[in-house]
Symmetry: C2
Subunit: 204 residues, 2 copies
DNA sequence: CTATTTTTATAATGCTCAGCACATAAATAG
DNA sequence: CTATTTATGTGCTGAGCATTATAAAAATAG
């Protein structure tokens, strides 16, 4: 799939692309897309801007790659609970508590890059906002699938509406990330998540 | 409190300050603080920029006034339910459904200016972000007071923790506004809110 | 070696932004 | 009337922004 290295000529790249991408991801995660300037990226990645453009295309393209890395390394570990745990309450509980760990891992606390990474208000034709909206839709689809699977398997009451319930969980998840960046204590976030799951998935 | 109009001299103001502020509020509500330029404000308010600075001080001061107007005219009507309705479930339900009406009243749909009005990520020393954080804290305090009052009055089970429950409601509220700007149907938002209240405030 | 290719570093581009200086206009006070 | 006060309209300023033009540097191919 990658071009053979034997026919490559010219000056070799002097930096580690993956490492630079990771630095960019952390910076975007801290400051958001609009809040991150190329000057900051240059400093954090340790590369001058023409090299960034040569390696990643544009600031938008770099952000998209950073979000993909973020999802793979920061979101996926927690969200895998939705595929692995059959009990819905425990699955969502594990997903939420795992996400909270990521939110409070740094100081200042960061929310979810997919939820908060770009300005949420604004009329139209903003490609970055649309891109993050798409990613959020994937989150929703994944929650619906998890709930539907449990209903089909008979481990979850079939009078639950997976779409409405997934909306509730996703709204709560998004709200949690805002509480996180507003400085909420980890313990408070955990208590909220526990209570939410207890009440929301109580099978009476 | 206001200076007497008899000693006022000089050319009178040619525009209606309250009307101009309302136009600014609507524009900030649509595009957020960072997403709104002075050029847009000039066009929407129908005043040239020196007049805006003379009447409102700065873009930041104007935004603060706009947020206060927003809270008074758009938030307060729905949130008064928390003071007026004694049954907690009905109070929160009414507050959420009323807020949803505001979120979907325009196209494209707008979330809550207090929640989404300024970039949520970013390290420190951002006066506007801190200002909105303060406003959110007022929301939280108000929710806690409502729940505590119900517990004291004996209409709400005292084994509920008002702070944790208020966190849950506020998180859900914040998440709802994101779903709104992501284009969720009004009916879907209402169903989520109904289910959330039903489960969250179910007294068994 | 020379020619070619690719990545670096410097520095500039064109643009938008918030805010303001200045002169003019329109009102009142005496 | 004249002097004074306040608001308006034009156009500027300096900073910051993403992006790129240019040329030097560092590698390989023959």
């Amino acid at each position: 799939m990658t071009q053979s290295p034997s026919i490559r000529r010219g000056r070799p790249r002097s930096f580690d692309r993956d490492k630079a991408l990771r630095e960019a991801m952390l910076l975007f995660w801290e400051n958001g897309y609009e809040g991150t300037s190329m000057a900051q990226l240059v400093e954090a990645m340790g590369i001058v801007s023409p090299s960034i453009y040569a390696a990643f295309g544009s600031k938008e393209d770099l952000f998209r790659e950073a979000v993909r890395l973020y999802v793979a390394t920061e979101v996926e570990p927690a969200w895998q609970a939705l595929d692995e745990i059959t009990d819905v309450q425990q699955a969502v509980r594990t997903m939420l508590l795992g996400s909270i760990e990521a939110f409070v891992a740094t100081r200042p606390q960061r929310g979810c890059l997919v939820v908060l990474g770009s300005g949420l208000l604004g009329g139209a034709d903003d490609t970055i906002r649309d891109f993050l909206r798409e990613q959020r839709q994937h989150f929703r689809d994944r929650l619906v699938k998890c709930l539907q699977r449990a209903i089909d398997a008979g481990t979850f009451r079939p009078d639950n509406d997976p779409w409405v319930l997934a909306d509730c969980v996703l709204a709560f998840f998004a709200g949690l990330t805002i509480e996180a960046v507003d400085g909420a204590e980890k313990a408070a976030l955990r208590e909220s998540a526990e209570l939410f799951c207890l009440r929301m998935f109580d099978e009476r």
